[in-house]
């Protein structure tokens, strides 16, 4: 019944934890200030080569803000020569026309630009910066330089009701792909969950507006609306299964089966400085910990859905039930499903934390690290 070992198809390089934005829904670890020194250029070049040998073909360059790495163009050039399809996942800060052209020339395939909202006020509040006008200018430049225009907007309680304005903005910017990604509750977003979680009604209205928009624009724009799993009864097939297709490398060189896994206790994630990616992927205890189906407990162990959803998300199981080997509590069969139901009910009653959100910055990270 155990599936045969597959190749990683996706390599996510989280090049740095440094970031000029301070987004309340950031998926980086809350204690990122505790991480070690960043990998060198040579380290990354080796990771790229080894990843490609293993079969990875989609490369994500993210962070933090990947433009903060001055060797980005060098890494892109090598990745292109190796045959990766290269996705730059960026806030746009640190990007200008010269760099857009240089990255294009080095072989970058696409730039995914994130916006926080359609309004300057909320965009700037959520990211705790003044960046809205800059992002608008960059979106036009990205398009002019022949990249497919991919716009990503993270959705939550504060901007779901602006969905029509967000869609109109995407149309104005002649976006090719629009990702409306409802917040997933990890990292900083989990910390700020009581503030960010929307109501079911807000979500339903936003999804209806998105469907109307899709019908009107047709094939001109691909629109993805990623539903937040808290509102589902079955978990998402997270990463298509642990150690199945996805390999993430953190800024300080830890290899992870998903970008949130770093916070899971009891697992020793391998360092790319110590071991080759081949051993890490195939042999390391951490990548085998939740591979396949043998690790599962009930109700997953005997459930026919396990071949579709792989038990859901290990990080969410840990965050909501205290044990990463439990069924993802999003599943209605999980004995911890009540946690999810209560969080959603809280959003409906307007229960929010009596405090300001935790903005993702070094000061807050240090405070949270010391807890």
């Amino acid at each position: 019944m155990e599936p045969k070992l597959s190749n990683p198809l996706w390599l996510l390089a989280e090049l740095t934890y440094r970031c000029p934005l301070h987004c309340v829904f950031c998926s980086n670890p809350v204690d990122y200030t505790r991480s070690g020194p960043e990998l060198t250029t040579d380290d990354w070049l080796r990771v790229l080569r080894e990843g490609r040998e293993l079969g990875a073909v989609q490369l994500g360059l993210s962070g933090g803000e990947p433009l903060g790495r001055e060797d980005l163009e060098v890494l892109v050039r090598e990745a292109h020569a190796l045959g990766y399809y290269i996705n730059l996942i960026t806030s746009g800060l640190g990007l200008d026309e010269r760099r857009i052209a240089a990255l294009r020339e080095a072989g970058l395939d696409h730039i995914q630009l994130s916006f926080q909202d359609s309004t300057r006020e909320l965009n700037d509040f959520l990211s705790h910066t003044r960046t809205f006008d800059l992002k608008q200018r960059l979106a036009r430049l990205v398009k002019q330089h022949g990249y497919p225009m991919v716009l990503n907007v993270v959705l939550h309680r504060y901007n779901l009701d602006h969905i029509e304005a967000i869609l109109a903005m995407a149309e104005r910017l002649e976006v090719d792909y629009l990702e409306l990604a409802n917040t997933q509750y990890y990292g900083w977003a989990f910390l700020n969950r009581a503030l960010l979680l929307p109501t079911r009604e807000q979500l339903a209205r936003a999804e209806q507006a998105t469907n109307r928009f899709r019908a009107r624009v047709g094939e001109r724009m691909r629109v993805y609306f990623v539903v937040p799993d808290y509102f589902e009864k079955r978990p998402k097939p997270c990463m298509n299964g642990w150690g199945s297709v996805f390999l993430a490398i953190t800024a300080d060189g830890l290899a992870l089966p998903c970008h949130s896994a770093r916070m899971l206790p009891g697992l020793e994630f391998p360092r790319v400085a110590d071991r080759g990616l081949g051993w890490i992927w195939r042999e390391s205890p951490a990548f085998n910990a939740f591979r396949g189906f043998g690790w599962m407990k009930e109700p997953c162990r005997s459930c026919p859905e396990r071949f579709k959803d792989f038990g859901g998300c290990r990080c969410q199981a840990y965050l909501l039930s205290g044990d990463a080997a439990n069924t993802d509590p999003v599943c209605e069969f999980s004995p911890h499903h009540g946690e999810v139901v209560a969080a959603v009910a809280g959003a409906r009653l307007g229960v929010t934390a009596e405090r300001q959100p935790y903005f993702r910055d070094d000061r807050n990270s240090r405070i949270l690290s010391s807890r």
Binding site: N7, V57, Q58, Y147, V150
Partner: protein, 97 residues
């Protein structure tokens, strides 16, 4: 001429791989894949034979003729047209007249 079943796709149309899409052979998968922003499609051998001939110059008719030369005896026309129509619907290719 207009092809039955798809009033839009004509034999004289020139299919072209969409901007941001790339076709390449992946040794690890022993298959051609079509890569695009944050996504990938693994192509069957026959789909790959068609997509490899989408060069932005050849017409639909020329692609069919070339395939029929490479695979003599096979009646490919309907399959090729159906595949290209699907590929265009999914945004993998566009067409210029």
């Amino acid at each position: 001429m207009t092809i039955a079943g798809d009033a839009q796709l004509k034999l004289e149309d020139v299919p072209v791989i969409s901007s941001g899409f790339r076709l390449q052979w992946e040794p690890a998968q022993q298959a051609h894949v079509l890569l695009y922003p944050e996504g990938m499609v693994k192509l069957s051998a026959s789909a790959a034979e068609i997509m490899r001939r989408v060069d932005g110059v050849s017409t639909v008719g020329a692609i069919i003729a070339d395939l029929e030369r490479s695979f003599p005896g096979a009646e490919l026309r309907a399959d090729v047209i159906a595949f290209l129509a699907t590929a265009r619907e999914r945004g993998w290719i566009g067409t210029k007249a």
